[in-house]
C-alpha cells in the first residue's frame, strides 16, 4: 500500500509492525517523533510492547540491554547527543552480543550546537560492535529497520544494529512509502530465534552471568567472538537482503553500484545525498560523461573486498564524507576505502575526499557536479590532485 510517510513515521510504523517486547527511549530532536508516535501505538493498544520512559539515553540503552539480555526483542531510537550519551552502553550491548535494534536519526554533534544532519554521531560509534545500515530515502529506512531485526538476531550474528536516516532531510520529509502489511512484516521478522539468555538459563536450571569481570584470561576471546559475529554478518546481510527481495521485491546488498560498470569517475556516498547524486549522474551521462556512483548502505561491517572489486575498473573516485574525522587528513570514510583499494593488483583508482553537508548544510546538484568534475579531471590525468576538499563551506 502506497502511503505518505516521513522518515520518523516510517520508523515508528515499522516498529509497530515488528511489535517488539520492549522499547525504552528518551526524546531528542530530530528522532523524538519515532518514539513519540510509537508510544501512541502502545497507548492505543496496537502493540504488546512494554514502553519504558527513561530519564536519559544512557538509561534507555541500559534498559534495552537488560531486556535483551533477559531474552526480549528490544528496540529504541535516538540522535546525536543522545547516541553520544549512550556511548559506554553501546559497547556493552555489542560485547554482550545483544541483538538490540535502534533507529538512529543522524544529526551533528555539539559543539557548536546544531540539530541538523551529518553522520558524525553514528560514525563515531563505528567501533562499538554495532552493525550500521544507512538509508537513501524513507522507503529504505523502513525496509532497513525491518531487515535489521533479522540480521541482528541471526544466530551467527547476535549483534546490535542501527538503521539510520538523515536528520530532517529524511526524518521530517513526507515521501511516498510502499508499506507492507502488518502480517507480512510479522511473518518476515518471525519470533526471536533461540539464543542464550538470562531467562532461558534460569528456566533450564543452569544460570549464567552476563557482564562479569573478564581480565587477561578471557577478554580477548570474547572480543574475538564479537568480531566473529561481524565477520558472519558479511554473509547474513546479503542473505536477508535476498530473502526480503524474494518476499517484497526490493533487494538490498552492502552497496548499490549505479552506472558504475563502464565509468571512468565515480562518487561514493552514504545516505540521502546518494539520491541527489544519481540525478547528477544521469545528467552527466546524457552529456556523454562516463560517471557512476556507489551508495554505501552497510558501513559496519565494512565490505572492503567487494567495494575494491566494484571500483577496480574506474580511474578516479571521490569519497563524499558527511563527517569531519579530525585526523588532519580526511573524513572518516576515505581512509577505509583507500585501504580497501590498496590490495587491488595493478593500477588503482585515484581517490580524493570531499567533506560536505556538516550540520545540515544543503548539498545542491551543483555541489555534486563540482565534485564529479574534479574527479573526472583526476581520471584524465591519472594523478591525485589533492587528498581533501571541503565542499559548500565558506573559508
Amino acid at each position: 500500500m502506497k502511503a505518505a510517510k516521513t522518515g520518523n513515521e516510517a520508523f515508528a510504523e515499522a516498529m509497530r509492525q515488528i511489535n517488539p517486547d520492549v522499547v525504552a527511549a528518551y526524546p531528542i530532536t530530530p528522532a523524538t517523533e519515532v518514539v513519540q508516535i510509537f508510544s501512541q501505538f502502545v497507548a492505543d493498544g496496537l502493540v504488546k510492547t512494554e514502553f519504558v520512559a527513561v530519564e536519559s539515553e544512557h538509561s534507555a540503552m541500559s534498559a534495552c540491554i537488560g531486556a535483551s539480555a533477559a531474552g526480549a526483542r528490544a528496540m529504541t531510537g535516538t540522535s546525536s547527543q543522545g547516541l553520544a550519551l549512550m556511548w559506554e552502553m553501546l559497547y556493552i550491548a555489542g560485547g554482550l552480543r545483544l541483538p538490540i535494534v535502534m533507529a538512529v536519526v543522524n544529526r551533528a554533534l555539539s559543539s557548536p550546537i546544531n540539530i541538523h544532519c551529518d553522520h558524525s554521531d553514528s560514525i563515531g560509534a563505528r567501533d562499538s560492535g554495532w552493525i550500521q545500515l544507512f538509508s537513501e530515502n524513507v522507503q529504505e529506512a523502513y525496509d532497513n529497520i525491518i531487515q535489521a531485526v533479522r540480521i541482528a538476531e541471526h544466530p551467527d550474528v547476535n549483534l546490535p544494529i542501527m538503521a539510520t536516516t538523515d536528520g530532517f532531510i529524511l526524518s521530517h520529509c513526507l515521501e511516498t512509502l510502499d508499506m507492507l502489511s502488518d502480517e507480512d512484516v510479522r511473518s518476515f521478522v518471525g519470533d526471536i530465534p533461540e539464543r542464550s539468555t538470562l531467562v532461558k538459563s534460569l528456566r533450564e536450571g543452569k544460570p549464567i552471568t552476563l557482564g562479569a569481570l573478564d581480565l587477561q584470561d578471557y577478554y580477548f576471546e570474547h572480543k574475538r567472538q564479537s568480531a566473529e559475529g561481524m565477520f558472519n554478518a558479511m554473509k547474513v546481510i546479503p542473505e536477508i537482503g535476498k530473502e526480503f527481495a524474494k518476499t517484497f521485491g526490493r533487494e538490498y546488498g552492502f552497496f548499490e553500484a549505479y552506472k558504475l560498470a563502464d565509468a571512468d569517475a565515480a562518487i561514493l556516498v552514504m545516505g540521502s545525498t546518494s539520491g541527489t547524486a544519481k540525478d547528477v549522474v544521469d545528467t552527466m551521462r546524457a552529456e556523454g560523461k562516463k560517471v557512476g556512483l556507489v551508495k554505501l548502505r552497510v558501513y559496519r561491517p565494512f565490505p572492503a573486498q567487494m567495494l575494491a572489486q566494484a571500483l577496480s575498473g574506474i580511474k578516479a573516485l571521490g569519497i563524499m564524507d558527511r563527517a569531519e574525522g579530525m585526523s588532519a587528513v580526511s573524513g572518516p570514510v576515505y581512509p577505509e576505502i583507500c585501504a580497501a583499494l590498496y590490495d587491488l593488483p595493478g593500477k588503482k583508482p585515484v581517490v580524493q575526499d570531499y567533506i560536505y553537508g556538516l550540520g545540515g548544510r544543503d548539498v545542491s546538484l551543483n555541489d555534486i557536479r563540482y565534485i564529479f568534475d574534479e574527479v573526472l579531471k583526476s581520471a584524465q590525468t591519472g594523478k591525485k590532485a589533492y587528498t581533501l576538499k571541503y565542499v559548500g563551506v565558506r573559508e
Binding site: F168, H172, C173
Partner: protein
C-alpha cells in the same frame, strides 16, 4: 536539472499552516498516484517568524534530496512577508508563478512587488474567515494552487482533503465543511490565472 519534477515553495509565518499546507497538498497528490515530497525548513520555530515549506511532485519516483532553489510555484500565505523575505528568489520570471494571499488584484500585486513574472492573487484570509471562522489561509491557498497549476483535479483534491480532515476533526464536521468550502472558493476566486 530534472524537468519532470514540479517544485513548490510555501512562505508563511509560524502558526499559519505553511507546513500543514505542504503536507496536505503532498498527501492529496500522492492519492492521485503521483510521487511526492513535502518538507518544512526547520529554523528557529517561533509563532509569527517567517517559515518556509516545500513540495516536490512527479509522476516518477523522486530521488532528489537537496533544497529547492528554483521552484515552479511560490505561495505567500502572509502578505506582510513581502519586503521582509525575498519571496521571488529563484523564481523564473518566464515560467514561474507567484500566488499571494491578498485582496489586491494580480496587477496591483505585481506593481507592488516590482516583479515581471506571472502573479496570481486570492484573498485567502477573507475566504478562511468566512468559511472556517478563522484566518487560517493555508487550505484556500491549496485551492488556488490547484487552479493555477492544474497539477491535480479540484474534485480529487476535495475528496482527499475530506478524508484527511475527517480523520483529524472527527467530532467537528463544521471544520471539515469550512475547509472544503474554503478550497473550492479559492479555486474559483483566484485572480490572474
Amino acid at each position: 536539472m530534472d524537468n519532470r519534477i514540479f517544485e513548490i515553495r510555501w512562505h508563511g509565518r509560524g502558526g499559519q499552516g505553511a507546513k500543514t499546507a505542504a503536507l496536505l497538498f503532498g498527501d492529496a497528490a500522492l492519492s492521485t498516484g503521483k510521487y511526492i515530497q513535502a518538507f518544512p525548513e526547520y529554523g528557529p520555530e517561533r509563532m509569527g517568524a517567517p517559515v518556509q515549506s516545500f513540495n516536490r511532485i512527479s509522476s516518477e519516483p523522486i530521488r532528489l534530496h537537496s533544497g529547492i532553489e528554483n521552484p515552479d510555484v511560490v505561495l505567500v500565505l502572509d502578505v506582510t512577508l513581502i519586503g521582509q523575505v525575498d519571496v521571488t528568489k529563484g523564481l523564473d520570471e518566464g515560467k514561474g508563478v507567484l500566488i499571494v494571499n491578498t485582496p489586491l488584484t494580480a496587477e496591483e500585486m505585481k506593481k507592488k512587488l516590482g516583479y515581471d513574472g506571472k502573479v496570481c492573487t486570492v484573498d485567502a484570509s477573507a475566504i478562511a474567515t468566512d468559511t472556517i471562522g478563522k484566518n487560517i489561509p493555508n487550505t484556500p491557498m491549496i485551492g488556488a494552487l490547484v487552479k493555477v497549476t492544474g497539477i491535480l483535479g479540484i474534485d480529487e483534491l476535495l475528496e482527499d482533503t475530506k478524508i484527511k480532515l475527517e480523520k483529524k476533526f472527527r467530532n467537528r464536521p463544521e471544520i471539515v465543511e469550512g475547509n472544503l468550502k474554503a478550497i473550492e472558493r479559492a479555486y474559483n476566486e483566484v485572480k490572474g490565472v
